[in-house]
């Protein structure tokens, strides 16, 4: 078993004990939520804000592991895993790159602000 496989197995075990596959707001745990927003709509138009974006960013604001939580997915096909909210392994999706472990973070995350946020942390459609 190589290191990556070992990590994957550990993450799977943690997930099996602590995760609800539909719960992506349980901060501090590893959860599973697919599909991922950036994979679901790779060709999204600039003004397309998808439902999964909303869920994803709501998770960010909830102080959970955010997209990393929603993507706290242990996906063997990607050859990597989300651990404590950041991605370990070879990144494949946009979310993997953005939330890769080891980045030089600017400052502690804070909730997004604004009057056009929806209660679930998403954003309202643009005015026509």
């Amino acid at each position: 078993m190589n290191a990556r496989t070992g990590l994957l197995m550990a993450a799977l075990l943690v997930c099996a004990g602590a995760c609800n596959s539909n719960d992506d707001t349980d901060g501090g745990t590893i959860t599973v939520d697919v599909p991922r927003p950036d994979v679901q709509r790779p060709d999204a138009a600039p003004d397309d804000v998808t439902a999964s974006d909303v869920a994803t960013d709501a998770a960010v604001d909830a102080g959970a592991t955010g997209d990393a939580t929603s993507d706290a997915a242990v996906d063997a096909s990607d050859g990597g895993a989300y651990v404590d909210g950041c991605f370990v392994g070879t990144p494949v999706t946009m979310s993997d790159f953005l939330n890769r472990c080891g980045g030089a973070v600017a400052f502690p995350a804070r909730p997004a602000r604004g009057t056009r946020l929806t209660p679930d942390g998403g954003v309202q459609p643009l005015p026509m």
Binding site: R36, P37, D38, P42, A44, A45, P46, D47, D48, V49, D53, T56, D57, V60, T65, G66, D67, A68, S70, D71, G85, C86, T90, P91, T93, M94, S95, F97, L98, N99, R100, G103, A104, V105, A106, F107, A109, A112, R113, G114, T115, R116, L117, G122, V123, L126, P127
Partner: protein
């Protein structure tokens, strides 16, 4: 407060001078004064780099000498459209004035750059610089254009140096501010419409930011007077807000050099991203670490575009050579390395990137350049703490590779 303003005022004047060309008396088509002329139009975001390279090319001797004539009255897509017009029999000439760089020191450029005056009929554009792929420009037929990606240009949201109310902006916040208008969006501290700035729908900078924040580039909501014609205007207007919160965006080659004196670069959190990241590892460094490894997605490729014939060969050899110099395919006269020039200009050489993308705002992929240069970059950017002992062969590199005079890991 008054003291701060007094200190900043000279800096703002210097900024205005930096971006303001000197009035030109020479005609741009004077071949004796401006030999081997290549007329450039398009991006203004990359202006500091063009000035530096223009001075190097103007100082070269013999056939290597090229006079860049840089018409800065257009944005990326306007420049590309003007160049592409030549392929459909409807060329648009560069008119007005243009910057020229004869006799300038590339490392000590003056505040006021000399200009020349275009002939009344204008001059045909030979090379377009664009912050976005030509195919992103509405209405442009890119079939006869040779597009070369030359360097990575990071962009950042910016505020005035003297205001520290907020250090980062979330993609959803930028979406609200630019999609609904600042006063409607209510994203503190950027709630004054008069203090939020944009470029235009044909600006490559704006297109890149638009793709990221998912607001169409033609639907940014700011007062009309806050739609700025160039990067220089953006820097000046945001800096002029002084202690008041203000928000704009520009390329790092224009913002990094005035960081702390005029501007503050803001961290950014993308859609679905957990944390905020600067382009660099800290607010004070210039290492572009988060751009290079994929944590910071606000960047695009700078493109050098020339017209080609039916066989794909460039129709203007001098313009093609400038594009080749910019891409590193042809040597930079004088012995400097264009990749080092990029690093010193707050840009990221393609060979220093760990990620790539195939379209503006598109998803990232892992990148393994054929001839990687991360070490060269890390000992060349402004303020770099790393030093690179020069090498001449692989034997000095402990299992690595001696490339461009520096030991790289592979």
């Amino acid at each position: 407060m008054a003291t701060s303003k007094a200190l900043l005022a000279p800096a703002l004047c210097a900024s205005a001078a930096l971006f303001a060309p000197a009035a030109g008396a020479q005609r741009c088509d004077d071949a004796a004064t401006f030999p081997n002329r290549v007329v450039i139009s398009g991006s203004t975001a990359i202006r500091p780099l063009v000035r530096r390279v223009g001075a190097i090319l103007a100082a070269a001797r013999g056939a290597e000498r090229v006079t860049l004539v840089y018409n800065t009255s257009r944005g990326s897509c306007s420049g590309v459209a003007a160049l592409a017009g030549a392929t459909s029999g409807a060329p648009q000439a560069a008119t007005g004035t243009a910057e020229v760089y004869n006799g300038l020191d590339p490392d000590h450029l003056p505040g006021a750059i000399p200009t020349c005056t275009m002939p009344a009929e204008g001059l045909a554009i030979d090379l377009a610089l664009s912050d976005v792929y030509p195919t992103e420009c509405a209405g442009v037929n890119a079939a006869r254009l040779r597009d070369t990606r030359v360097v990575v240009l990071p962009f950042e949201f910016i505020g005035p140096a003297l205001n520290a109310d907020e250090s980062g902006v979330d993609a959803r916040e930028a979406y609200q501010i630019y999609g609904f208008g600042a006063s409607t969006a209510g994203v503190t501290p950027w709630t004054l419409d008069a203090r939020v700035f944009q470029r235009s729908a044909s600006s490559g900078t704006q297109i890149t930011v638009a793709r990221a924040i998912r607001v169409p580039e033609g639907r940014f909501q700011t007062p009309t007077s806050n739609a700025l014609s160039g990067t220089g205007d953006m820097v000046s207007r945001v800096a002029a807000a002084m202690t008041t919160p203000a928000l704009g965006f520009a390329g790092t080659d224009a913002t990094n050099g005035v960081r702390g004196t005029q501007l503050r670069g803001l961290a950014y959190r993308h859609w679905g991203q957990r944390e905020f990241y600067y382009p660099d590892s800290t607010a004070a460094s210039f290492d572009k670490r988060n751009v290079r490894d994929g944590h910071y997605p606000l960047w695009g490729y700078e493109h050098a575009i020339v017209v080609s014939d039916a066989s794909g060969a460039p129709v203007n050899a001098a313009a093609a050579r400038v594009a080749d110099v910019l891409s590193g395919a042809a040597p930079l006269p004088g012995g400097d390395d264009i990749q080092r020039v990029y690093a010193r200009s707050y840009l990221v050489p393609l060979c220093a990137m760990e990620v790539s993308r195939s379209r503006d705002g598109g998803d990232l992929s892992l990148e393994q350049p054929d001839a990687p240069c991360p070490r060269l970059f890390e000992c060349s950017y402004p303020g770099a703490s790393a030093t690179c002992a020069p090498c001449t062969d692989n034997g000095a590199c402990a299992g690595g590779v001696c490339r461009r005079g520096v030991c790289e890991a592979r």
